[in-house]
């Protein structure tokens, strides 16, 4: 894994584009680190809040001679936030050895082409729904995206499910496995 701290000086100086590069490498790691909380805590909001905290704290991160200082900070922030959410529910933190393995996939043009091919070959409502999700510049809730497509909440979700299954089948035929185990 490369050292994402090579973006740190620019991030600390307020460069949001440098932070975007850091995010591309860091987000999958932060999410994977929360696998053991997934049955109890909504990890998506924890991931987003922790990544935002990393941006805010970056100017105060001092290199310690080890790689990925900002990512290590963010992983701790995510774990602490998830534990805090657990405690609000009166629950104990699960054992850390239940963590999912951390993954780091470098950008892969072949993978991108395979996904683009499979999305291109989706048809009808599943295609419309998936494209709406991927292209939504405002990051709206599904209920709003469904409304913009003239669909009910349930219909939108069913078509998203169909799109995901069709994509998975198409990608599997091309030797790409995106499904992670729960």
């Amino acid at each position: 894994m490369s050292d994402l701290d090579h973006h740190l000086a620019a991030i600390a100086a307020g460069d949001a584009d440098a932070f975007a590069h850091w995010l591309a490498g860091a987000e999958p790691q932060v999410r994977a680190s929360l696998a053991r909380f997934a049955g109890v805590v909504d990890t998506e909001s924890v991931v987003q809040e922790s990544l935002l905290t990393a941006w805010q704290v970056a100017p105060r991160i001092t290199p310690d001679g080890h790689p990925n200082g900002l990512l290590r900070f963010c992983l701790r922030a995510a774990r602490n936030r998830a534990i805090s959410e657990l405690r609000k529910q009166g629950r104990q933190a699960p054992s850390p050895d239940a963590d999912a393995p951390v993954e780091m996939a470098p950008p892969d043009p072949l993978l991108r082409r395979a996904i683009a091919f499979c999305i291109e070959h989706l048809r009808g409502k599943p295609a419309a729904v998936l494209r709406a999700r991927l292209a939504d510049p405002a990051g709206g809730a599904d209920v709003d995206l469904a409304g913009s497509l003239g669909m009910s909440r349930n219909t939108f979700a069913q078509n998203l499910n169909r799109a995901r299954k069709q994509l998975t089948t198409c990608l599997t035929r091309r030797g790409v496995h995106l499904e992670a185990s729960p």
Partner: protein, 79 residues
């Protein structure tokens, strides 16, 4: 809960959208609360797969989660 409603809740939870609390922090997706633990884990697994797909398609390698974080950063600056 019937399987169709459960599927709807799981798919909705895979979205990067989250409601903002009065203090500005993000709260859990409303559908998350209605899922049992197995459903939540299923949503987590699907989300991981979807984010990998989104990032692979994006020119900058960013998922909808990362884009949502950047929107908040850039939105705060423009206020």
């Amino acid at each position: 809960m019937n399987p169709r409603d459960r599927e709807t809740l799981i798919e909705e939870t895979t979205s990067a959208w989250r409601p903002q609390r009065p203090d500005g922090a993000l709260g859990p997706h409303p559908s998350f609360a209605d899922l049992d633990e197995d459903g939540r884990r299923e949503a987590f697994a699907r989300t991981r797969a979807l984010r990998a797909l989104e990032a692979a398609l994006d020119a900058q390698g960013l998922s909808t989660t990362s884009r949502a974080v950047l929107r908040r950063i850039r939105g705060a600056r423009s206020e």
